[in-house]
């Protein structure tokens, strides 16, 4: 048996990105996503010490315990990961942040904080593991569940869904993607792109709940996702040091997006007329997908013109958390000078 482990550019093996074994159900979409996060961080040669993991409360929010065991993490409060992450990233704007939330965490209790996180453009990857159902409390509908759905425990859903991607686009997010836990390659490429993005990157990933919402006719099930996924593009992530190699490059069908850190994204169009640079178009496509029973996936919207919160804040290279004391406490003379005006 070959026991030699391949090392990445920072000399780490894939095992160095692993963490505690998952306690989620076998077959849960969230486990697949956690595995893709491990793979992507290994592939990108990120140092775990330069990454923080954040989450709220729920099945999805448990999952940061299951990847990147050498990264600091915080499994916080239900729906409050955005504010916690905002504070953490203002304290240290030099780390990368991977946030994992769920549809209850983001679509219900945390919708307000989510919208404001988008508005502030905090530099983090915000993954919504979206399964339309509350797992830990045993099967209630979430706000993303489809209109009119019937579930054994929850009964009939009388209300239309909140679309997390639509909310992100409307709130001004510059990176909004939708994916499907059953489409591992697409999840990986989108995660890589998201980690290279300048500000807040929202990934709404349909991630089936095998315990409560995986009937074939459910729009959050594996079967329905596989049958109805309509990918807008075939996505390829190209690291800054790598060359773009595209067979049959045709500017009409393939688009290259330059990301903030020098990496690039190749988007081979699967829908000829879709360009991910038009908010209204993105909303229209999502709406049409919803009406036609399609799971529209891919990079829905991209715009990197808006600075992140850290950029707006004008920080220097050293994070606030690592500033020396003499920059944190002004001098005795400064105090005396200021007080003189109050005499």
């Amino acid at each position: 048996m070959d026991r030699v482990q391949k090392l990445n550019l920072v000399g780490l093996s894939k095992a160095d990105y692993a963490a505690a074994p998952s306690t989620l159900c076998k077959g849960c979409g969230h486990n697949s996503i956690a595995n893709q996060i491990i793979q992507v961080c290994y592939d990108l040669s990120l140092r775990p010490q330069d990454v923080i993991k954040l989450s709220g409360i729920g099945c999805s929010s448990k999952s940061p315990a299951y990847f990147l065991g050498q990264s600091h993490g915080f499994n916080s409060l239900h729906g409050r990961m955005p504010s916690l992450g905002t504070g953490a990233l203002q304290a240290n704007h030099t780390v990368r942040a991977i946030g994992v939330s769920g549809d209850g965490d983001t679509g219900s209790i945390g919708l307000g904080q989510f919208k404001h996180l988008v508005r502030r453009n905090v530099r983090m990857v915000y993954v919504v593991e979206n399964n339309g159902v509350y797992g830990l409390t045993k099967g209630q509908f979430s706000a993303t569940a489809e209109y009119g759905q019937d579930l054994k425990y929850a009964g009939h859903n009388d209300f239309p869904p909140i679309d997390v991607a639509v909310e992100a686009i409307v709130a001004g997010a510059g990176f909004v993607a939708r994916s499907f836990a059953g489409d591992a390659k697409q999840v990986r490429e989108l995660l890589k792109a998201a980690l290279s993005y300048r500000g807040l990157a929202v990934l709404d990933i349909i991630s089936p709940c095998v315990a409560f919402n995986d009937e074939d006719d459910s729009r959050k099930s594996y079967a329905w996702g596989r049958a109805n996924e309509r990918a807008l593009q075939e996505i390829g992530y190209v690291a800054p040091q790598d060359e773009i190699v595209i067979d049959d490059y045709d500017p009409g069908t393939t688009r290259v997006v330059e990301l903030h850190d020098g990496s690039r994204l190749t988007l081979r169009k699967l829908e000829a007329d879709y360009e991910p640079n038009d908010r209204m178009r993105a909303l229209e496509r999502l709406q049409r997908g919803e009406q036609q029973g399609e799971l529209v996936t891919g990079l829905l919207y991209y715009d990197d013109s808006r600075p992140s919160l850290a950029e707006v804040s004008g920080f220097g290279a050293t994070p606030l958390s690592e500033l020396p004391d003499d920059l944190l406490r002004p001098s005795r003379e400064a105090l005396e000078g200021l007080l003189a005006a109050y005499a």
Partner: protein, 611 residues
């Protein structure tokens, strides 16, 4: 215009002994008319004359047009508690009747003669001021004219009390930060009004000011400014907040001081201030920043603190430093947003569910606001827990005299934070292990480059290694350690200030700004032969000196500004053996206590009457 004849025969005429530097003035106006500038000009004039002074803004929760009062107390003895005013400046038609009715016999009423009002009390001295007439020929227009109209009473009061005009000008210069045009136009009205008063009013009341030297070297500042300045010198680098009276001016001050004092050599900010979408997010940002290693604070008041309960519970349990300034107003609920109280003590002490407990600090002065401003961050870091500073509206929003603040006497206390090298030297880093026996564990910060430094923060049950645990023994052991840490805190927090005298019949216990009324009452009672010991508690959990004070007194009276005797109840619960002798008198109506009220309560208690 001829000399005004007295409209009544005051009981105290000009022949009566002058009352010098010992009275209170109430200025009644409508809010949003710029009267605050006029009031602060008067306040600072007295201060510049060397007379101990304090001003209280009693304002409505409103932007424009509602009644507002400003109380100024001058006291040659240095007493600055609220005292019902003897002098009234009545410039608000809506309240003039009630304001005049509230004056004591022998009082003085300076009023806007344009208000239709018939002076109807024979035991007052009235001075009508023809405001419109005085403003004729003043070269300003519109709203500015309304603002500047208030300067008429500044001029008249300056004349009646004997405030030198050059002092008023200095006060105006301070008020307008030296903007000459504004100083000139306002001072012009002061001069006109002063000249008119000199010529037209016959001084018939006994109240006067004379220069003293009691404010030499002192500063005049609000508690919110002082607290914010303390935080700046405490290295606060992330502040997140949601606007709420009366805490907003804390953040305003922070946003004024930080850009002046906290830039790195390249001129970049060493701080971040974020206006959050609500208090849940504000405290979330603070806890996130604290976890990541920055010193972080939020400022709020009761309704905001209610919203912060879940994050404060998390921060207690996950052991994350955070500083919360609660500038107390009157609750429950929205309550009286612009009135003062000490109503949040019980809630703040345990805000959060389960066995959550927090460290509280009780500043009583601008010096303590500054000192606790930086010490709160030291304590939060040392104890890895939220520290809640319980100020109040009276302290936070009003101007108080104080000594220039002492520069912090020791460097920032960052507590048990391990560097990458320190982790390397350990056999194993265990986030929640009680290595030193004081209940305080070691932590590492995100960005620590040692691969063994990471830990996973969580509000769920955890073991010493921060791993998820539902084990009963893990839970109990952790909660016992957290309690051990809380006991350790008793030795870290500011000690109570205790003043004892021979022959005292009663031990009075207080905290925060009630000290001013209590100290004045203590002195007055001492003159009557009733000696009091006074202990001013400055933190919870309290240190051993508090228990010792309670121990050596047979009769104690805890005086506080809330209905339910909140601190008294905490003392009773934590010192059950002394519970029967811990009496309490709690009162809350939105106004700061007066010495006269305290005196009555103490005498009532000693005479065996019910609270």
């Amino acid at each position: 215009m001829g000399v005004q004849e007295p409209l009544s025969s005051p009981r105290v005429g000009p022949e009566a002994a002058a009352i010098v530097n010992d009275f209170s003035i109430a200025v009644a106006t409508a809010n949003g008319t710029g009267s605050q500038t006029a009031n602060l000009t008067l306040l600072r004039s007295f201060f510049k004359m060397g007379i101990p002074v304090h001003g209280k803004n009693i304002f409505p929760s409103n932007i424009q047009g509602q009644p507002t009062w400003y109380h100024i107390r001058v006291s040659r003895h240095g007493y600055i508690a609220r005292r019902p005013p003897e002098l009234l400046v009545a410039f608000n038609a809506a309240t003039i009747h009630e304001d005049v009715a509230g004056l004591p016999a022998g009082g003085v009423c300076v009023y806007n003669a344009d208000i239709r009002h018939s002076p109807d009390r024979t035991d007052l001295t009235y001075y009508p001021v023809p405001v419109k007439e005085l403003l004729e020929g003043v070269q300003v227009s519109g709203k500015v004219k309304d603002y500047i109209a208030n300067m008429t009473y500044v001029g008249v009061v300056a004349h009646l009390l004997g405030v030198p005009l050059e002092v008023v000008r200095q006060a105006l210069e301070h008020q307008f930060g030296g903007r000459a045009k504004l100083v000139d136009s306002n001072f012009d009205v002061v001069l006109r009004s002063h000249a008119w008063a000199q010529e037209s009013l016959r001084k018939l009341d006994p109240y006067r000011v004379e220069p003293m030297e009691a404010t030499e070297g002192l500063i005049l500042m609000t508690g919110n400014e002082a607290g914010a300045l303390g935080a700046v010198f405490g290295g606060v680098s992330v502040a997140a907040w949601y606007p709420i009276t009366p805490s907003t001016s804390f953040i305003d001050a922070l946003r004024e001081f930080l850009p002046r004092l906290r830039k790195d050599p390249e001129g970049r900010p060493t701080y971040s201030v974020i206006q959050a979408e609500d208090e849940l997010a504000a405290i979330g940002m603070v806890v996130g920043a604290g976890w990541a290693g920055a010193r972080a604070l939020t400022a709020t008041s009761g309704p905001g603190l209610s919203l912060m309960a879940e994050f404060l519970s998390l921060a207690y349990f996950a052991e994350v430093p955070a500083v919360v300034w609660d500038i107390q107003r009157v609750g429950p609920s929205t309550g009286l947003p612009t009135r003062t109280s000490q109503g949040d003590v019980a809630f703040a002490y345990g805000v959060g569910h389960g066995d959550t407990k927090h460290v509280l600090l009780f500043p009583s002065s601008i010096e303590e606001c500054f000192e606790f401003g930086y010490k709160a961050h030291d304590l939060a870091d040392q104890l890895q827990t939220p520290v809640i500073v319980l100020s109040d509206l009276d302290l936070g929003m009003n101007n108080w005299m104080g000594e220039p603040f002492a520069y912090p006497d020791r460097p920032l206390q960052r507590g048990k934070v391990l560097s990458a090298e320190e982790v390397e030297r350990l056999e194993r880093f265990r986030r929640y292990a009680d290595v030193d026996g004081d209940g305080i564990p070691y932590r590492t910060l995100p960005g620590n480059q040692n691969p063994r430094a990471a830990w996973f923060g969580r509000g769920t049950g955890h073991d010493e290694d921060a791993r998820y645990s539902e084990r009963s023994d893990d839970w109990w052991r952790n909660m016992q350690r957290l309690d051990r840490k809380f006991q350790t805190a008793r030795g870290y927090v500011p000690q109570a200030v205790i003043e004892e005298v021979p022959g005292a019949r009663l031990g009075v216990v207080c905290y925060g700004t009630t000290r001013y009324a209590i100290e004045e009452a203590r002195d007055a009672l001492a003159m009557q032969g009733v000696a009091l010991d006074v202990m001013r508690v400055r933190a919870l959990p309290f240190g051993p000196e508090v228990e010792a004070f309670v121990e050596r007194h047979d009769d104690l009276l805890v005086i506080e500004m809330n209905r339910d005797n909140q601190l008294r109840n905490i003392l009773r619960a934590e010192l059950p053996q002394h519970a029967p002798k811990l009496h309490g008198v709690g009162y809350i109506d939105g106004m700061p206590l007066t010495a006269e009220w305290v005196e009555r309560q103490v005498l009532g208690h000693l005479n065996g009457r019910a609270d």
